[in-house]
Every structure is written in C-alpha cells, then in structure tokens.
C-alpha cells in the first residue's frame, strides 16, 4: 500500500515506450510490477497471425530510467535459437524437422519527455 502511494506520488517526467515480442511480455510485465512500475499494455500485431508484438507504456521519474533500462535488457536479451523452417522438400520419415537459426528476443525502447502528468 505504502509502495503504491509512493508510485502515485512519484513525479513522472519520462514516458518509456517498449516494443517487444508477445512471448516476453508476461515475464517482463511481472518483473516490472514487482519492482513497482506502473504500465499500460497495448497489443499490436505484426507478421501474419503468429508473431505478435506488444507495446508497453511505462511512466517513470528520470531517476529510475537506468534501472528500468537494465531490467528490460536483462529480460529481452537478443539471443539465437533454432526455429522450424518449413522446408521446400519432404525428407524420409523420422528425420528431424528442418530448423534454421534465428535471432529472437529483442526489444525496442524509446524514452520521451513528459510535459505534464496527472493521476486521478
């Protein structure tokens, strides 16, 4: 309760816009909420029917900017993994599916100045 009041009283002067893969939203938003950040989640669509991306809006005081960026970086590291490539040919049964290396897990972060912030 005390923490919530502290957040509400905080002078918000930065708006951080985070665009990330939908698969990572759960983990990042849980960790943000645990550390007392307030956030708004906006679903966006990208790709065709499958690879969704999500936009998170986080209002903060500039003093917490480094902490927030660090937290995003720790959850949304770019890393490589193998994904199904859906080949052009079929191979004899039992052979492993065709996989190809892809970069996943990145996030785009934009920080904007906030002219005015009110909480009702």
């Amino acid at each position: 309760m005390a923490q919530e009041r502290h957040i509400n009283d905080e002078q918000v002067d930065r708006l951080v816009v985070i665009i990330l893969a939908s698969e990572q939203v759960g983990e990042l938003s849980n960790r943000l909420v645990k550390k007392g950040y307030r956030l708004t989640l906006v679903n966006t669509s990208s790709g065709f029917m499958q690879a969704g991306s999500t936009c998170l809006l986080v209002g903060i005081n500039h003093g917490r900017e480094d902490d927030l960026i660090g937290l995003i970086g720790s959850v949304c590291r770019t890393h490589r993994q193998f994904i199904p490539a859906g080949g052009t040919f079929s191979l004899p049964g039992g052979l492993p599916p065709l996989m190809i290396e892809a970069e996943v897990g990145s996030a785009y972060v934009f920080t904007l100045e906030v002219e005015q912030y009110e909480f009702f």
């Binding site: 065709f48 029917m49 890393h79 191979l91």
Partner: protein
C-alpha cells in the same frame, strides 16, 4: 457526398495486402527491395511446395497399394528411400560448398528431378501395370527422397543467406502458418478428388498431376531468387568426412548414447509407420478422403501443442519433455489394435498429434543442448544418418512382419520397441540444463 470506393481501390488494397503478407508482414517494408522480392518468391515457393507435399506424403502409400503393391513392397519403398537419403548426404554437403550457385543445385535436384518423378507418377498408369508399375513407383520414391536430401544442404545454406537472421522468426512464423493452411486444404481436396473419381487410379493420377503443377510452380518461384554472390568453400565440408564423424562419436558419450536411443526409437517407429494408411484402407475400409481428414486432424492438434510444449520445454528442459512424451507415444500404436471403424482413429490421431509436437520439439532441442556450435554440423549429420539407417531397417522388417503376422503384430512390436528406445534414453543419456547453444 462521400464517393464510394472504386473496384480499382479494393484491387490496389488487395494487391498491397498480398505483397505484405507474402513478404512476411508489414515489418518487411523496412527491408531493401531486393530482399523483399526474395522473401516473396521464397514464400510462394514454400506454399506451393507444401501443397505438392500434402498430396505426395498423404497419398503415395495408397497409390502404390491401388497399383497392387504388397505390404512388404511398401516397407521396402520406405526403407530404400531412407537409404538413398543417407547415401546422398555427403555428396549434397560437398555440392553445396563447392558449387558457386546453390540455387541451381536446388532447382535441378529437389526442384527438378523430384518433380519430374511426380509427373512420372501421374503418367505411370498409362504405360505400366501390376508389378512393373509398383517397381517404378518404388524407384521414383527413392529418386524423390534421394534428390531432396542431396539438395537440402544447398537449400539450408541459401535460406540462411537470403533471409536476414533478425527477421527469420517473424518471416517463418507467417510462412509456416500459410504453408500449414495450404497443406491441410490440399489434403482435404485431394482426398475428395480421389474418392469421387471414376476409378481410384484415375483419381490418383489427377491429384498427382495437380501435385506436379504445384511443384513446378514452386520450382519457378525458387528459380527467381536472387542469390548473393559467394566464393565456393571446400573447407566447410570437413565436418562431414567419415573420420570427422567417427571422431565426434568417440568423443561425446552423451551424444553417442542419444544416437543409440534414437536409432532404437526410430527402428520401432518405422516398423508400423508406413502401414497406418494401409491399415485404414484395408481393415477399417476408410476412403482416401477419410484418410486425408484423419491426417489433417493430427496436424491441427499439433498446432496449439507446439506452443504448449515450447513453454514446458523452457520450464522443464528438453530432457524431461522428451521423456514424458516419449513414455506416452509407445501407447499410440497399441491403441490402433482396438480400432474398428475409421472414426476410431480420430482420438488416437489427436493424441498422437499433440504428443509428437512435443517430442519433435524437445528431442531436437536436446540434440542442441548436447552440441556445441562447432560440433553441431557433425552431430546433425550423424543424427540424420543414424535415424535414416534405423528407419530403413525398421520399415523393411515391418513389411515382413505385417505380411506374415498381420497388423496387430506390427502395432505391438512398434510400441514395445519405442518403449525400449525411451528406456535407453532414460538410462544412458544424462539430463542437461535448458540452454541454447548459441545464446
């Protein structure tokens, strides 16, 4: 007064939407025009190839059966096709590295010979009958699988070159989804065509002609890819030399044991694998359309299951998911013994589709977890060889067993051997932490 949008406006919007979807999504607009063009040709290649394979994979066994093949011959066909894949693995890798233009290896091999063989299948009943036709179908199947495998290293390398690594996840997400939809639709339509045709053989000829049209369309699209210039590199094939492969086996006990377990598993799997469709037609009296629908049910069940097991894989690790799904899969062939009518297969195929989605994902991830980046090409090659050899042996033995002892015998043997395979995995292979080798 607001003017109504014209037909040309809708047409332009449709064209724009199709251009974006075929390049993977709206994100692709930020890529250079040449890359976008390649993504589009590659997308259409995949969709058309998937439509061709929907026919070829689902109905080839039924086609050869309609031509008069025995069950032993069906086993032999799968067995020889797997062996051809093993034999052509090294030449394929050599070609991909030593030949400057990878695109033309694919167009000539998997896109050329394979698709001419499909045309051959469509025309075959005009020229050959009985055992002669059966022998030719087996030969065509060996050619198709052999040349597909020969082209595979070139295809994989070219794919990696033309699709930027940062966008592959999204691009393949879109492409795979459309490929799956095309695959299911074509399976459904082809099954109806065969069932409603004046004679079964005419039906198979019609759908194989259609498969050839899809295939040649795919080759046309693939031939339009702009391949980036590159210098042939002979050194990269060192990973595939017999000495290098044997060294990899000697040095990594976990990998060796994993290969042994997968050999037993795939040996058991293929004792029954090639005969499920035959059983549905001969014993359950299913029509080709019903066989197609039951195959679609399995694919559909696998789509959400991949996401579920992907999450489970992250939490539990590949070892535990392989073990869990591997312990349940042996029950699947045993359940087939109790089927009496085609619809009995539906719940089995739903279960099978879910479990196989988990097993395929987890076992591949486990292979990655016991590999290092520098050993991965060797490990993958060895894994493919061991699986293909086991597949060949299993299918050949399955053909003999089913011919003499009937379907229950292969279902039971297959289930027991799968259980032995997973037992070997459990006792001989050590669990690993869920890490990506390239992280």
């Amino acid at each position: 007064m607001a003017q109504k949008p014209s037909l040309s406006f809708f047409w332009q919007r449709l064209k724009r939407g199709a251009a974006l979807v075929s390049a993977g999504g709206s994100w692709s607009v930020q890529l250079p025009g040449e890359v976008q063009r390649n993504l589009r040709w590659y997308f259409f290649d995949g969709v058309l190839a998937s439509s061709q394979e929907a026919i070829n994979l689902t109905y080839l066994t039924l086609f050869i059966l309609a031509l008069g093949a025995s069950k032993a011959q069906i086993g032999l066909m799968t067995s020889l096709a797997s062996l051809s894949a093993v034999v052509l693995l090294l030449p394929g890798a050599l070609l991909a590295e030593r030949f400057g233009q990878r695109k033309w290896i694919v167009v000539a091999g998997g896109g050329g010979v394979t698709r001419l063989a499909i045309l051959g299948l469509a025309l075959l009943p005009f020229f050959a009958k009985g055992q002669q036709a059966v022998t030719i179908v087996i030969l065509f199947k060996v050619l198709m699988d052999g040349f597909s495998n020969l082209s595979m290293p070139a295809w994989t390398a070219l794919t990696a070159e033309i699709i930027p690594i940062a966008w592959r996840g999204r691009y393949f997400g879109s492409r795979n989804m459309v490929m799956s939809i095309a695959n299911m639709l074509v399976t459904l339509i082809a099954g109806q065509v065969i069932t409603l045709a004046v004679s079964p053989i005419t039906g198979y000829q019609t759908v194989y002609a259609l498969a050839f049209a899809f295939g040649i369309g795919a080759t046309f699209c693939f031939a339009h890819l702009q391949e980036p210039p590159r210098q042939p590199d002979a050194s990269a094939t060192a990973a595939y030399t017999p000495a290098s492969l044997l060294k990899a086996l000697r040095e990594n006990a976990d990998f060796r044991n994993f290969c042994i377990s997968q050999m037993v598993w795939n040996f058991g799997l293929n004792i029954a694998g090639p005969f499920f469709a035959v059983y549905q037609v001969e014993n359950l009296h299913a029509t080709p359309a019903e066989v197609g629908i039951l195959s679609i049910i399995s694919s559909l069940a696998g789509i959400p299951a991949v996401r579920f097991f992907g999450g489970l894989n992250d939490r539990w690790g590949a070892y535990k998911v392989t073990l869990l799904t591997g312990l349940l899969i042996p029950l699947v062939p045993v359940l087939w013994i109790f089927t009496r009518v085609p619809w009995h297969v539906a719940p089995i195929n739903i279960t099978s589709g879910i479990l196989w989605a988990g097993y395929g994902l987890a076992s591949f991830n486990f292979l990655l977890s016991i590999s290092k980046a520098e050993t991965l090409p060797r490990f993958t090659a060895l894994f493919q060889i061991s699986v293909a050899v086991a597949t060949a042996a299993g299918a050949a033995l399955g053909g003999i067993i089913v011919q003499h002892l009937g379907f229950p015998a292969i279902f039971l043997t297959s289930g027991l051997l799968r259980l032995v395979g997973i037992f070997v995995f459990w006792r001989m292979v050590r669990p690993r932490n869920p890490v990506s080798v390239f992280s």
